[in-house]
């Protein structure tokens, strides 16, 4: 993998990576940073920001700052696990489809087509209605939502490999299919896989927040920004910060992931709009 360090030093890239780092750090260390237990009813309902509760309390009298700090933890954990699952499964299927072709490829691609043709939120609400909102279900759902895209992208990348000399050379050496895929093809799709991962992460975070807001995602009393927006929306006219802060946290995370993904793509030389070095 060639990393173009120059691309990582652009302001948007630096900002994106910084935002991601801050959010990941928050998610990891929130239990030590938060002054209160985020689910404990410690104060009166909707107290204004003050000395005891720096950002006031929410509609149930829970410390708002603590909930904000914890708000990305579960969402990031769910989306990370789900997207990792989507990317791992999607990459393996995509490479297999490209390598073996034939009926396997056809069937896989049709499954992806069906999934991609289905409106996302419809699929989500059907799935959640059927299976509930537990952690395993949410992870599975995120995985299911995003794996077809990964299959397509990785398959396309792998297709450029299967006819290259080093793959043929490996086949002629008598290497097994698993060995050819693992040693020769998969490593060369990693660039795409990394960028896919970053892009899907930002999509998934937004999706999960939307779902939580609609009551299809994480369940109360989990501290979660999407849920906090939905809990606070009735108070919009009276205590607008209850909606504003979680919205800002969601946006910065999504923006950070987006910028980060773009920076990564640039650094791996995947953006055609950037000039390349060349002679004649």
């Amino acid at each position: 993998m060639r990393i173009d360090a120059f691309a990582l030093r652009k302001p948007a890239a630096v900002m994106g990576l910084l935002l991601v780092v801050v959010h990941v750090a928050l998610a990891l260390f929130s239990p030590w940073l938060a002054p209160f237990d985020p689910t404990e009813l410690v104060g009166g309902r909707v107290e204004a920001p003050g000395a005891e509760f720096l950002l006031g309390t929410d509609v149930l009298g829970r410390d708002y700052l603590s909930r904000l700090l914890h708000g990305g933890r579960m969402a990031l954990f769910v989306t990370f696990t789900g997207v990792v699952a989507a990317v791992v499964v999607g990459s393996l299927l995509g490479v297999a489809a490209a390598y073996f072709g034939g009926a396997l490829d056809d069937v896989l691609m049709r499954i992806c087509d069906i999934k991609l043709a289905l409106p996302g939120i419809l699929f989500v609400s059907l799935f959640i209605t059927g299976f509930g909102e537990s952690f395993v279900v949410l992870v599975t759902l995120i995985g299911l939502v995003y794996f077809p895209g990964v299959v397509r992208i990785v398959r396309a990348q792998a297709l450029t490999q299967v006819n290259l000399g080093y793959v043929k050379a490996a086949q002629l050496r008598g290497e097994s299919a698993a060995s050819v895929i693992a040693r020769e093809i998969l490593p060369n799709t990693l660039d795409v896989v990394y960028v896919e991962f970053a892009i899907r992460m930002s999509h998934a975070v937004l999706l999960l927040s939307t779902m939580s807001y609609l009551g299809l995602g994480l369940s109360p009393p989990t501290p979660d920004w999407g849920l906090m927006v939905s809990e606070g929306v009735g108070q919009l006219a009276f205590a607008p910060w209850l909606v504003l802060f979680p919205a800002v946290f969601i946006s910065t995370l999504v923006i950070g992931l987006n910028f980060g993904a773009e920076a990564l793509a640039n650094a791996l030389g995947m953006d055609a709009s950037r000039g390349h070095v060349g002679g004649t």
């Binding site: 689910t39 209605t129 009735g234």
Partner: protein, 515 residues
Amino acid sequence: MNRREMIAAVGAALAGLGLKDLVAPEGAFAQAKPRSGGKFVYTNLYPNNRMGDAKNGRHPYYLLDINTRSAFNGLAYVNDRLQVEPELALSWTPAADLKSWEIQLREGVVFHNGRDMTADDVISSFAFHKARTSFARQIDKVEKLGTHKVRMHLVKPNSEFPFILGEYQLMIMPAAPIETIGLDGIGTGPFRIVDLDPKRRLVMERNERYWRKGFPYFDRFELASSPGRMESALNGFRGGQFDAVLGVDPGLQPELERIPGTVISTALSGDQALMILPKHEGSPFADKRIRQALSLAIDREKVIRIVYGGKAGWAGNNSHLTPSNPEFLPLEVRRDVARAKKLLAEAGYPNGITLPTFYFTASWPEIPRVFQVVSQSVKEAGITLPIEQRPSDGYRDWRVEDKAKTRKHRFAYGPAGVRNPGVSMYRMRPDNNESGYWSGPACEEYMKLYDEAVVEPDKLKRKFLYVRMQQILGEEVPAIHPAGRRNMLIHKKNVHGLENHSQFWSIRFDEVWKG
């Protein structure tokens, strides 16, 4: 309105105000006589799953607004204190066995299309209701005794049958074949439907020939439906688009009180949240002590204080009755953590217990808040109560699902509305999911008392029976009713006569006027 009428109206209005009122206008509203005319616009936040389309949107079953009494009337009306009043029926007299009821209809009632309302219309309407509504299935047949007199024959005795005649769907429509009855939206109500924008807006005008002489006051009557869209409804209210908002989130009472020029009207009660306790083998709730401990551990006061702002909620008594019911018996001991711990220890959990996950859905906006507070408050008694929200689509089927017919079902929330005890108390019957398929000697005694009440014509005697039944529920705890809401509506200061109702579909607009 021509010029002369206009001058007369303005003059009348000024005369009504008087000099004193002009000097001190605040007092004017309090003492002013009801004023006729004008337009009233309101929006309704209550979810209505049966909103119709252009074809059936005027039918009382599918009317955009569930407050069907703007365009229709029933034979009877149930007021906020759950007393039955005559409406299109003048009186009802049961036979000795309470199995047939003779109903004298009001004379001189005219439908919006100018036709007189007679026994034939009642018979035709109930033929439709019998086919379509569970409440009407107990009516075996309706016999015509005269142009304004019918007799209803019931399948079995019902001492509280008149309540059924006040149910919101059982409106009287002009006689027509069962396929087309009601589709034209013609009723006997105070307002006549002028225009319908399906699922959005309903425009009505005064029914000049309304049988309640002098009513209604408004010339025009409009409503916009905004189920669940609290924020937009409040914005419309603040911007002067709406004179009233029905069904506001009772949890917002402290905030709404701060909006200037707003009057909050709260009903005596409203829906309550019910915790259904499965009692099949292997469920911790098969042990009565754990049910009792959970009920005693719940901080009902805290739920009311935090979720309902202290005023807009009430504490449940583990029965389906509400403070609107005159028979309601408040819980003797609302909370006793020490006793809850003792009961748990006796049941074999001296170090506390982790209950199975409790599922709920946000059928009202405050439901997730109620159970978050419940879950937090029972911690004090050493009870860990994990909770999980479920999507509202298909929630009920999912909750009662019993594919294997093992009566295993989920530890979950169910909504319970406000009804007369004859209906409400029956919901704890052993074969109903809401009772968690309750059984045993106490249950048998409960059902015996219920059977007595159904055939007991005397109201006071019935009340004794219902109190005893509530005591059984309080002791046995087949289900837990932590708290309920008090229905809330807000209106502008110049709106008068708009009374709220625990059965939110029973709000009447006859006597509402604007100053």
